[in-house]
Amino acid sequence: MRIDLDSFREIADALVRNKSRSLLTGFGVFWGIFMLLFMMGGGQGLKNVIGANFEGFATNTAIMVSSQTTKPWKGYKEGRYWNLTLTDVERLKQMIPELETVTPVISSWGTTIVRDNNSFSGSYKGVYADYVNIEEPQLKYGRYINETDVMQERKVCVIGKRIYNNLFPEGGDPCGSMIKVGPVYYQVIGVDFSSGNMSISGQSSETVAVPLPVAQKILNRGVNIELLCVTARSGIRMSDLESRLRQVIARQHVFDPTDKQALFFINTEQMFSLVDNLFTGVNFLIWLVGLGTILAGVIGVSNIMMVTVKERTTEIGIRRAIGATPRDILSQIIMESISLTLVAGSFGIVFAVQLLRLLEKIVTASGENPGGFQIGFWTAIIAALLLTVLGVAAGLAPASRAMAIKPVDAMRDE
């Protein structure tokens, strides 16, 4: 390759001479790289949006809910109602030392929350201080419920983001203000801004959390609890503990341990791995389709270069006769092939980036979804490098055919 302005002009000339042909051939490559990058960005963004739903949620968590039994057991008929109780907390801690946290939740839906003239209908839940191990709050103001609040049964609460926005439209630190939840006044001690959607008993942004003994008394629940949340110690898989957890609970509440319906068991680990698997599959498809399309485009380039070489047999023969080495011819054809793929591909990259930017703008406009649709800078660079390599590959076969042209062929081809 002679580095000369004319070499580049010649390449440009060659591509421009057959405008529509270059355009159509380039389109294949353009579309391929566009598809790959756009789908990569789109897939990443979608994963971020879905991942945001799990935000702040411990990945090694299980939630247990009691339900009607479906199997007869020890003289009891099926269809019996039973309840998880506060004693189950200590029992599980004793019996299964692999559990790190065992914490109960009492909840109630559709509670009216009032401050002055503002009211909001949200959910209400009573928790212990160690509930933070299950669902990590993102405290904008104040603190979360602590041991002392629980022990002294203080009437304090932590409110979610939307409740805060509705009850305190003027903004500012609401800690210390009193709000009325149901029939009782509570003092606000914190605001939880976490936006995850996978919250227990209602979205955390619409929930008022109070110390569990307070909720227990106000809702008149006795020892019954709604949910039992557990996390396993690190390195222990929740799914390995499931059957033992069922055993312990079933023995206490006298139902068949194999009765899966009686104890509803949600394992977040499984849900996370489900989503992960889903996106592994999606990514695989993206690469398959994207690379396939690029490859089809590149084969098109190779084909058209083949035609070009055939058409230009005489020209190449003349060049050879007046002193072009086979290497000169090789580099000319390969450079044309690279230029075609690279120019078309660059448009594809730019188009994909612009479209992803637009998409990101639309998705994040509401402020509720995270972005992350845009492909990385280095992804684009690697894509450009990939195009160059593919351009060389596409040029190889036509170039070797061009090199086989003897100067004599030009004269015969009159």
Binding site: R2, I318, G323, M411
Partner: protein, 240 residues
């Protein structure tokens, strides 16, 4: 001797072996203006291809300026062609999408001469052939005679030892043919360029100083034609 061929043989092996050149012995001195004449199938094109290092031969020896031309790699052949030989073809063989001056520049491009230098040289040569005004035109905008003159400028630009012309007037009318031959004659006389013309037209051959007749792959008569009396253009020939 500038060119020396010693017992050169060439056989084509396309299906049936075809012995085209059967022991060619030929010497051409520097500054000669020679034509090689023969009917089609006589082997004159093959001889030209060998002289122009476009094709190789089987046995024998071929020297240009004392250099043995045999068993060259493609790269060596290309560089010899570029530096020692200038080609003029019957159908001009200009590159259609390049202007006259770009066509003339091309051999220098492959020599690696800088852009401005080769442009300047190409303009000089076009000027010498009276085509300076046509430098920016494309081949399809020029007449046959002009195209052939551009081709001659392209052949001359590398200052080659030999100019090989393959039927240089084959695509031209008789008047233009004569002009082109006169131009070649002038280049030979004034600049001392060695020119070998391959033709089957006696009128063309008559313009040269020496006529080599080739028949059935063997050199026949070598005619001294310094008087240019062998046959005139248009006279006593069927063609032109």
């Amino acid at each position: 001797m500038l060119i020396e061929l010693k017992d050169v043989n060439k056989t084509y092996n396309n299906g049936q072996p075809l012995h085209v050149l059967k022991g060619i012995n030929l010497s051409i001195d520097k500054g000669e203006f020679v034509s090689i004449m023969g009917a089609s199938g006589s082997g004159k094109s093959t001889l030209l291809n060998i002289l122009g290092i476009l094709d190789n031969y089987d046995t024998g020896e071929y020297y240009i300026d004392g250099k043995l031309i045999k068993g060259l790699t493609e790269k060596q052949a290309a560089s010899y062609r570029n530096s020692m030989i200038g080609f003029i073809f019957q159908s001009f063989n200009l590159i259609g999408f390049k202007t006259a001056v770009e066509n003339v520049e091309l051999p220098l491009f492959y020599q690696g001469v800088s852009r401005s230098k080769r442009h300047q040289m190409a303009m000089e040569f076009l000027d010498r052939l009276g085509l300076a005004d046509w430098a920016g035109h494309y081949p399809n905008e020029m007449s046959g005679g002009q195209k052939q003159r551009v081709a001659i400028a392209r052949a001359l630009i590398t200052n080659p030892k030999i100019i090989l012309a393959d039927e240089p007037t084959g695509a031209l009318d008789s008047k233009t043919s004569e002009e082109v031959m006169q131009l070649l004659g002038r280049l030979n006389r004034e600049d001392g360029v060695t020119i070998i013309v391959v033709t089957h037209e006696s009128g063309v051959a008559n313009c040269t100083d020496k006529i080599v007749h080739i028949k059935d792959g063997i050199i026949g008569r070598i005619e001294d034609n310094r008087e240019h009396r062998s046959s005139m253009f248009g006279a006593s020939t069927i063609m032109k």
